[in-house]
């Protein structure tokens, strides 16, 4: 069922809640791929009813980012959700979410702002305000859908950690279910932005996952010095990669690790063909 308004969604949810049914939410920006598919499948399996939101959220894009050219494939997304067994596809337009004529700045809009310690690093360093936009829209979606469970991919690990922190800090009555990264057979982590890559670009992009797998293999052999683990990784990169960061951080607090342990996540961001790609791996 494709719905475009908050009112329609609320009415349907109210009906379900009356019947005592559990509701799962899978927030997406559309352009759904097998990564999203795995989230939706998990929700359909775990919850009585599943809502997939499809909303390219303007306030999480920074100036100069790809808001306008971000892939929009609602017909295909809706069809996929239907096939998997989602009950509602909620696809509002920006006006429905933020009101008409609203200036989408913190001068005129209430924002949910995650802690600076979590946002001043990794992707937050180059994407200033990005996670403010993410937390605000996810908070809104939580209030609209009132799900029991919400499903997020570990591909966006910093986002996942920040949303878990938001739920904890604001006592939000939603359980966040983290879901594994889905990769192509090659190892490339699925991303809607992979569509921007040429075939050669996709090959070059493999360095990111290979490098992460290698770090994990070294860790499993007993190497724990993150400086050493990081330096070894650079040999996977060449002129086709513009590295933004490669960092070892705690999976809950995002504190930096000098000695890797089972709570360590290795985060990488790099541009390939000027497409910004991210990936990560848990050492546990």
């Amino acid at each position: 069922m494709l719905l475009h308004t908050i009112k329609e969604v609320r009415e349907q949810i109210k009906e379900w809640k009356k019947q005592g049914l559990t509701v799962g939410l899978v927030p997406t920006m559309g352009a759904l791929h097998n990564g999203h598919k795995s989230l939706i499948e998990k929700s359909v399996e775990k919850c009585d009813k599943t809502v997939v939101s499809v909303f390219v959220n303007p306030i999480q894009f920074c100036p100069g980012e790809d808001l306008d050219k971000y892939p929009r494939t609602l017909d295909a997304d809706n069809k996929l959700c239907d096939e998997i067994g989602a009950d509602i596809v909620f696809a509002p337009n920006p006006k429905e979410m933020y009101g008409e004529g609203h200036i989408l700045s913190n001068d005129f809009l209430t924002y949910v702002i995650p802690p600076y310690f979590y946002t001043d690093k990794l992707c937050g360093k180059s994407r200033v305000g990005h996670f403010d936009g993410v937390c605000t829209v996810v908070n809104k979606l939580f209030n609209i859908v009132q799900p029991d469970f919400a499903f997020f991919g570990k591909k966006d690990m910093q986002q996942l950690i920040i949303l878990k922190k938001m739920v904890q800090d604001l006592n939000i009555p939603v359980e966040i279910i983290p879901c594994p990264i889905v990769r192509e057979e090659s190892g490339l982590a699925l991303s809607s932005r992979n569509k921007y890559l040429t075939e050669q670009g996709k090959i070059n992009a493999l360095a990111l996952s290979k490098l992460l797998f290698n770090i994990k293999a070294c860790y499993n052999k007993g190497v724990v010095d993150t400086k050493y683990l990081g330096e070894t990784a650079y040999s996977f990169l060449n002129d086709n990669h513009s590295l933004e960061y490669l960092e070892f951080r705690d999976k809950d607090t995002l504190e930096e690790k000098t000695i890797a342990d089972d709570n360590t996540v290795v985060f990488i961001a790099a541009r390939v063909e000027n497409v910004r790609l991210i990936d990560n791996i848990e050492l546990r």
Copy 2:
């Protein structure tokens, strides 16, 4: 029923929701007076179940404010709530609300930040960060109690306007019920901070309400020039009053009014015996 933990409140609320009962929330900082009493009475009348929260919220106090000496009278508050017919008094300690050892700054805590246009004026000008703390704690209370209705006094009119904006911006499924200011027979608006005043101070404080009533009387006679209305008001003030602001603003958007109309609220803040007092009046 006096409860101190989030878990206990949630369990009770869950039970009520299962039975299809409506829940009203009256958020307070305790030191309850007849103003609070009127809010609780309204909730008891309107809702099947009423929760009164009593929590002196540290993050809405600014440095140098009266956090430590703010009156705490939980036994009396609990008794009053009981008499009026409230079902739960929720009195958590700061550790229950914000976790142990947490640094209560936006470095480590997710905040709900109302728009700057609403907070850079009136009380927000001198109480920097105050409304961030208010919105954050009210958001938390909404998530813990999940009320159908929440009751706030018009005494804190800027707070009320900001909370209504928060509910709208974040699609919070709670209806805010604004309640009239309760005044002593003298006209003095009730406030927990009135306890800081001497008898003479309370007499001096009457200038605030008198001045507001006079402005409304002038408006009702057809005077709409807010500059003129404001200047007339100054004659009520003397050396016993240290005026912080006297402003004419829109009741929804907080925009300044040069010509008063039925949507205008007159806001005043002044110190008497160094106690900061606020009051306001709707011209409608």
